[in-house]
């Protein structure tokens, strides 16, 4: 036990001290901050130029009815279209011709291409005015009509055993999506780190010295746990750094709400539940897959040879990942989603997609139970291949070979 701790310590310390770890740890929040800055920039980048819309109203219904807005002023002309066109000098000014017949298309002229939001704005006003005019013509009192006109927006409320809670569908989707992506990526990143560590020990031939001091299983376990702790450390640093940055930025640019803050706020009272689930699936998923990655590392002499074994390991993950981000989150209660979230190979990704949509307890517990059984199983299988593989050199291992190794006695 003491020796496993030593191994964990070495694996952890050497990795955390690496420049690449420090760079990654700082780079991701920096990217996040940059993204945040871009969002803030985009949000603040509204059209701030003054537009004057010169209206030639051939129908006569619109004169004086457009509302001036902050950056759009309306001006009514009595000239002919041709002379108005000739008079249009300022490139931010526009010329709107409204035809006599409402069925004809109105025309908008400008020196520059008009932005979509500007055209939309004008079109909406025109429609409102036209509707109003038609109503009046039909003898309907527009004042009382405005009184009864409803203005609904939807706020969804979920009924749960814990009571009602307000949810934002957008945030729920984002949460499902983020969970799946994070788990998927970290299983690959840290699983591959375990594999590379095993290959490094094998190719540098230090493995024989180490296994004369500790059992291969201890070495494998120590390495997996060590790398796993590195991953957790990185996550904690990312989250706290990102939160710190967005908090700091949030104070400066008070007009834009911190996305992390609003994200956490939207997770609401379930934040800790969802975080615990994420941690559980991260840890068990990592243990499940990194054991397999370790076995692959032990079976090869260099990283280039890993391809043939990597494929069957990555396939279920990739499959679930693609399904998750494209389809599953729209139908989180479908039978496919259910089965994928139960089978340990796909559960870490699939279940993360489902969790924000309230998974029935028994399904969650079943999935968790199978995850635990699953990682114990893969660790057992992997360790049997690993203990033989690390001492085999120059032999190109096939699947048949791996099966033989599995059945070797000690």
């Amino acid at each position: 036990m003491n020796k496993i701790l030593l191994i964990i310590q070495r694996e952890y310390v050497t990795r955390v001290r690496k420049k690449s770890f420090v760079i990654m740890t700082l780079l991701v929040p920096a990217l996040f901050a940059a993204m945040y800055a871009v969002i803030a920039l985009v949000a603040g980048d509204k059209d701030q130029t003054m537009h004057i819309v010169n209206v030639i109203d051939q129908s006569g219904d619109f004169r004086g009815k457009f509302h001036d807005q902050r950056f759009i002023k309306y001006n009514y002309l009595d000239e002919s279209l041709a002379s108005a066109k000739a008079d249009l000098k300022n490139e931010n000014d526009l010329l709107l011709r409204i035809p006599a017949n409402t069925k004809d298309t109105a025309e908008l002229f400008a020196k520059k291409k008009t932005t979509l939001s500007l055209a939309d704005n004008i079109q909406n006003q025109m429609n409102d005015i036209a509707t109003g005019v038609s109503l009046v013509k039909a003898g309907i009192d527009t004042v009382s009509l405005h009184k009864i006109k409803s203005n609904y927006t939807i706020k969804s409320t979920e009924l749960t055993e814990k009571g009602e809670k307000s949810t934002s569908m957008g945030a729920t989707y984002a949460l499902a999506f983020a969970g799946a992506v994070l788990i998927y990526m970290s299983l690959f990143i840290y699983g591959a780190q375990v594999m590379r560590g095993v290959i490094e020990e094998k190719t540098s031939r230090i493995i024989e010295v180490i296994v004369s001091s500790v059992k291969p299983f201890q070495l494998m376990t120590g390495k997996i746990v060590g790398v796993g702790l590195v991953g957790l450390t990185q996550f904690v640093l990312w989250i706290s750094l990102s939160a710190g940055i967005s908090y700091a930025l949030g104070h400066d640019a008070s007009s834009v709400k911190s996305p992390i803050y609003s994200f956490i706020h939207n997770m609401g009272s379930n934040a800790s539940y969802e975080l615990m689930c994420f941690l559980f699936y991260w840890i068990t998923g990592f243990l499940f897959y990194s054991a397999l990655f370790a076995a692959v590392g032990s079976a090869v002499d260099s990283e280039t040879e890993t391809q043939q074994f990597m494929f069957p390991i990555t396939l279920p993950l990739l499959f679930t990942y693609i399904l998750s981000v494209s389809y599953l989150f729209t139908v989180p209660d479908s039978p496919l989603a259910f089965w994928l979230s139960i089978i340990p190979f796909t559960a870490p990704v699939a279940m993360m997609v489902r969790i924000p949509f309230n998974v029935p307890d028994w399904q969650l517990y079943l999935s968790m139970f199978l995850m635990i059984v699953g990682f114990i199983f893969t660790t057992y299988v992997a360790s049997r291949i690993y203990r033989v593989g690390i001492l085999m050199y120059g032999k190109k291992a096939s699947y048949k070979e791996l099966a033989k190794w599995f059945f070797y006695k000690e």
Binding site: L6, T14, S204, I207, E208, V209, S212, S213
Partner: protein
């Protein structure tokens, strides 16, 4: 010290060891010899508990070999290797701690060893910055740092230049004189005769010879002598108490011959026969070198 009894180890498709037994006495330098693929490394790995035998037992100081003995064995594998990107000092401490030493104790001992072998400046260096010979030296230190009772060296001299090989040889002898038992495998027969008290010869998964070097050599004495004499070249007619095997050289009145004694004849009788006839300058028994014994035994099996 180490009693290996009837070890059998089979891998899929071939047998690495079939019923090998050895006795290594405390304080011995024991050489494990044999051609490539004879099973030396398999046996060494079993003694190091890296793999387990299919059947057979090993006793360490009378106790059945178990995990608690790991800390009393030091192992230098044939394929040397250390973590390339780790600093030497840290790495040595790590390896020593895996063998059960405390951090402080390993630092203390490392300082002594580094000083002894002129490695003081290496502490903060990474393995990849060292030459191959320097890496080997570092690994040797890692092998013996925890002062094991049994030191197992697989081809200890391969990869060393003659100067460093000599340094390592002296260190091995010093450790031995301090009480460590040493088991090493090698192809280099001259180092066997120089260092070993006893040997075992493995070939094709079987032990074909073992014992103290002197005993083995005695059994391989076959009454062959080399004689040098000065004067007229002698002609032997068959009445002499030996058979002439070879006329090795005749240079300016100095003659060298190789003879085999007839049954129940001693070398003294040969001298008595020759002295009246010529002037003897040398009589030496031809004792086969370990190399010859090695080759002879291995070929006999084929």
């Amino acid at each position: 010290m180490l009693s290996i009894r009837n070890i059998v180890k089979q891998y899929a498709g071939h047998t690495a060891l079939s019923g090998v037994s050895l006795e290594v006495e405390s304080g011995q330098i024991f050489g494990l010899l044999g051609p490539n693929g004879a099973g030396k490394t398999s046996l060494i790995r079993i003694v190091n508990q890296i793999t387990a035998p299919d059947s057979g037992e090993i006793f360490f100081n009378g106790e059945k070999l178990n995990q608690s003995h790991i800390e009393r064995i030091g192992y230098l594998p044939e394929e040397r290797g250390l973590y390339k990107k780790m600093e030497i000092g840290e790495q040595m401490i790590y390896l020593a701690r895996l063998k059960g030493l405390s951090r402080d104790e390993s630092i203390r001992r490392l300082k002594i060893w580094f000083q002894k072998l002129g490695m003081e400046t290496w502490w903060k260096m990474k393995i990849e910055e060292l030459s191959k010979g320097m890496q080997q030296k570092a690994q040797f230190v890692a092998t013996v740092l925890h002062e094991p009772d049994l030191i197992i060296l697989d081809e200890p001299f391969s990869g060393f230049d003659p100067v460093n090989a000599e340094i390592i040889k002296d260190e091995i002898l010093e450790l031995n004189s301090k009480g460590a038992t040493i088991l090493f495998s090698t192809h280099r027969m001259e180092s066997v005769e120089e260092l070993c008290d006893a040997i075992a010869l493995l070939d094709k998964s079987k032990k074909i010879l073992d014992g103290k070097i002197r005993d083995i050599k005695n059994t391989y004495r076959n009454n062959i002598y080399i004689i040098e004499y000065t004067g007229e070249k002698l002609n032997f007619n068959g009445a002499q108490p030996f058979e002439l095997m070879d006329d090795i050289a005749d240079v300016e009145g100095d003659h060298t011959i190789k003879i085999k004694l007839k049954t129940d004849v001693t070398s003294n009788e040969v001298l008595q026969y020759l002295i009246p006839q010529t002037h003897i300058t040398k009589l030496q028994e031809v004792i086969p070198s370990m190399n010859e014994i090695f080759i002879e035994r291995v070929n006999k099996i084929v």
